[in-house]
């Protein structure tokens, strides 16, 4: 497999690959490399942090001790910063990289937000468990997750007055997309999801007194249907496979969607809704490696951060600061803006975020000033602009991986697109700079914003 393609595959399907690892894969075929990627994600480890207060309470048979639960929830609120940090670390360093990439995708598909960290962790681990599994089972499990039931009000969806929130978003955002269902379908589906409830520890049960056991007229059916039935019927429609594949394509391949590629994917996906199958199809397709799909996608803030980490590993001594940076760029893990998730693509970029994004590497890793040949730099060199963050960085790891790379190999290991001629002139002109300084320059050009 060509080096360029190895970098591309790992940038999109995982969170990058080091030059030495990539070099090892050159002798393998594309299929073999893709196999390797899947094999590394066969065993999935959930991501948890210690929450002893919750564990104790639930072990004690907590039923009826609502007030104590409320107190624990309040006291554990800052834990979501710890989980954010643990998640970011997992993105950067887990061997289950493909599964983590998929989890991040699903977190922006089955969008949910829960302030109660205990349930939020349960939710994200449901995403991890199903990320490469069966989409139908996945959707059913998401529908029954306490966080989702709270977020889209299924837990207050009663037979006398159904709440349409979940039913609408299920069809609009999770499965079919607008135009493939009617307002009547929403009303009937809402009835099928009545009575969905969870116990305090998060386990699901159907509240028989609030569930509507009557017949529902839904997409040609006229029968008693429950929530699982609704999801089965939705998945019978090819539009569902189409819709999900379109989203996968726009996330993994190109935000400008090629309809015939999506149709190919949907044919594969529709057979059994096997996520693994469709992803394997994408990563082995010729078009995945076509020029228009390499180095042309705008990085999400999380991608930007993990790609900086791939060059020079860094660690925030105060996790709160890391959360601050994520928020500044508009994407904090665990904090999606609304049920549609982050729109992605060019939406990440505006006058404000772009400049922050291009300046980050020098703030994280240098003194806050990007090395350059200009007089302004010479004037300010030596002064520190970057001491606002408390970050440790591993330049030794950089020297080992990148220190001996030839000039053009350094470029392609750091930037996904080929450098524009002007950028190349600029970087080469600064030949007096060290590899470390060059890496900062490379991470501070617009090209580095693309993957």
């Amino acid at each position: 497999m060509e080096l360029r393609n190895i970098y591309h595959l790992y940038r999109r399907a995982a969170f990058g690959i080091s030059p030495s690892e990539a070099k090892k894969l050159v002798s393998l075929s594309t299929e073999e490399v893709v196999d390797r990627l899947f094999r590394d994600s066969e065993e999935i480890t959930p991501l948890t942090i210690d929450l002893p207060d919750f564990d104790e309470l639930f072990e004690d048979g907590m039923q009826g001790r609502l007030r104590q639960l409320e107190k624990i929830i309040r006291e554990n609120a800052p834990k979501h910063i710890d989980y954010n940090a643990a998640w970011f670390k997992k993105l950067c360093s887990s061997s289950e990289a493909l599964n983590e990439r998929m989890t991040l995708f699903w977190a922006n598909h089955f969008v949910c937000r829960d302030q109660v960290i205990y349930y939020a962790i349960q939710y994200y681990n449901i995403l991890r468990k199903n990320a490469l599994g069966n989409f139908k089972d996945f959707t059913k499990e998401v529908a029954k997750a306490p966080s989702m039931m709270k977020y889209l009000n299924t837990n207050s969806n009663f037979k006398n007055r159904p709440n349409e929130n979940f039913a609408r978003e299920l069809m609009e955002l999770f499965t079919l997309g607008t135009g493939n269902y009617s307002e009547e379908d929403i009303k009937e589906a809402a009835r099928a999801f009545t009575g969905y409830s969870s116990r305090m520890d998060g386990s699901f049960f159907l509240n028989m007194r609030q569930h509507d056991f009557g017949e529902k007229q839904f997409m040609g059916w006229n029968a008693y249907l429950d929530g699982d039935d609704i999801i089965n019927i939705i998945c019978e429609k090819k539009e569902c496979a189409q819709f999900v594949c379109r989203k996968l394509y726009s996330y993994f391949v190109n935000t400008t969607v090629n309809g015939s590629h999506v149709n190919e994917m949907a044919d594969v996906f529709y057979k059994a809704y096997d996520i693994k199958e469709v992803m394997r199809y994408v990563f082995t397709a010729d078009w995945f490696y076509a020029e228009e799909n390499v180095g042309t996608k705008i990085k999400s803030p999380v991608d930007l951060l993990t790609s900086i980490y791939r060059v020079v590993p860094f660690n925030f001594e105060q996790p709160r600061q890391q959360l601050f940076v994520q928020r500044l760029m508009g994407q904090a893990l665990l904090e999606p803006p609304n049920v549609a998730g982050w729109p992605g693509g060019r939406h990440w970029i505006n006058t404000n975020t772009l400049m922050v994004r291009m300046k980050l590497p020098s703030i994280f890793l240098g003194n806050g000033l990007i090395p350059s040949n200009s007089l302004g730099y010479a004037f300010m060199e030596g002064r520190s602009f970057g001491d606002r963050f408390n970050i440790s960085k591993d330049w030794k790891a950089f020297d080992e991986e990148y220190g001996n790379l030839r000039e053009e190999m350094l470029h392609s290991a750091i930037c996904a697109p080929e450098l524009e001629k002007g950028t190349l002139d600029l970087i080469l002109k600064g030949s007096r700079f060290s590899k470390q300084e060059k890496s900062l320059q490379l991470m501070s050009v617009p090209e580095f914003q693309l993957t």
């Binding site: 007055r161 709440n163 607008t178 996608k297 508009g330 505006n350 990007i370 090395p371 950028t423």
Partner: protein, 396 residues
């Protein structure tokens, strides 16, 4: 079908949208009209429940359909013998009494869409319900009449569709001094100096370079021009309050900015609506009224018009979770000194004539409000920006 194909195929799309903006720019004599007037647009995102905002406090249907969440008569601040403000809108009531607020009832569009995202797009692009446009109407305004990216500023974190044009985008500014500091790194100057030919590219790379150029131009302009203006009004500690304060400082610095946009989110009250909406309305009313006071103190209120909308209203009947589901027509607020008909602009919603979903039917098309603002406030031809002739409704 791709959106772009749809536009090409749609009989509704006027040829206007197919002409690239730079061609239009060459065609027309394009200069901003004399006399500086600016527009502030505020979106109450999530679908504000208009019926619990402007409350029909003598309407039996209202109380029957909302047994647990209807606002009690005694908690309403009456506007007449039929409608009244939610009590947390007391600061708005003052503007209402002073003739500086028009409340327009029953605003919407035919075949309402009840998706937040689609309906927001419709409001932002000023499209019909079945028409898909890729550019916002303020963006189109910039395409045709704008000279600098900072002619339209969004006070927030991301650039909304309303601000995105074909050849020009508005800018996002939240913290002018930080943006200025970051942007003035000498390296960025060099990056731009060395790149000249990518700028017109339609690809993401071109977009990045163009945004970088916009950022450099805007950051120093906004910073230099606004750094001496510091508001001493108390905007509280909420995020929306801070946005309003930034807005006041920008306006009072008399930036060359014609349109500002900000949004306040959280109005999607499917469950336990009361507490949430109460807090949001308070946040909104206090923020906006402080802004108005601040502008008055700096003699900029006369030249400022503030439009507030929400992507849709909510269903007349409540749900079982003490909340409301997505609805259709809603009220719109216009605040300014030069209103044609201050106070209640039109009659209260008719709760006995609902659509088949049980939602309010619109009486005024939102695009006719836009048309009026375009013609009378921005002083441009509304047909240019709306792609068709729409009869304006006389608000200003």
């Amino acid at each position: 079908m791709k959106r772009r194909d749809f536009i090409k195929n749609s009989a509704l799309a006027s040829s206007f949208f197919l002409v690239p903006a730079f061609v239009k720019a060459m065609d027309m004599q394009l200069q901003l009209p004399q006399g500086f007037k600016r527009l502030v647009i505020i979106q109450l995102a999530g679908g504000n429940d208009g019926l619990n905002t402007i409350v029909p406090f003598r309407n039996d249907v209202y109380y029957r359909e909302r047994p647990t969440i209807a606002i009690d008569r005694k908690d309403v601040l009456p506007m007449n013998d039929e409608l009244g403000f939610h009590k947390n809108l007391a600061p708005l009531k003052k503007l209402f009494d002073a003739g500086e607020l028009s409340v327009i009832n029953n605003v919407g569009y035919p075949n309402p869409n009840r998706s937040h995202f689609r309906s927001t797009d419709i409001w932002h692009t000023a499209s019909a319900s079945d028409e898909f446009l890729n550019h916002g109407w303020v963006g189109r305004y910039l395409d045709t009449y704008g000279s600098e990216p900072y002619n339209a500023i969004e006070i927030g974190n991301s650039l909304s569709l309303i601000m995105q044009g074909e050849s020009k985008n508005g800018v996002v500014a939240r913290d002018a001094s930080m943006l200025h500091k970051i942007t003035s790194d000498p390296y960025f100057e060099q990056v731009l100096k060395y790149n000249t030919d990518q700028h017109l590219s339609e690809h993401n790379m071109g977009y990045l370079y163009q945004t970088m150029i916009d950022a450099k131009q805007s950051a120093s302009y906004i910073y230099e021009k606004s750094k001496v203006t510091r508001s001493n009004f108390d905007y509280g500690k909420t995020a929306f309050g801070k946005q309003m304060k930034t807005l006041a400082e920008f306006i009072n610095s008399r930036l060359d900015t014609k349109v500002y946009y900000a949004s306040l989110a959280g109005f999607d009250t499917h469950a336990n609506q009361a507490g949430k909406q109460d807090a949001l309305l308070k946040d909104y009313a206090e923020g906006v009224s402080t802004l108005v006071a601040d502008l008055k103190a700096n003699n900029t209120f006369n030249d400022t018009l503030i439009l507030t909308f929400s992507e849709f209203g909510r269903r007349v009947a409540q749900n079982a979770a003490n909340g409301t589901d997505h609805g259709a027509a809603n009220n719109v607020f216009v605040i300014g000194k030069q209103l044609k008909r201050p106070g209640l602009f039109n009659a209260a919603p008719d709760l006995t004539k609902l659509d088949k979903n049980g939602d309010l039917v619109h009486e005024i098309d939102f695009r006719s409000i836009y048309a009026n603002i375009m013609e009378k406030w921005l002083e441009v031809l509304s047909e240019d920006l709306l792609g068709q002739a729409i009869r304006p409704v006389s608000i200003i």
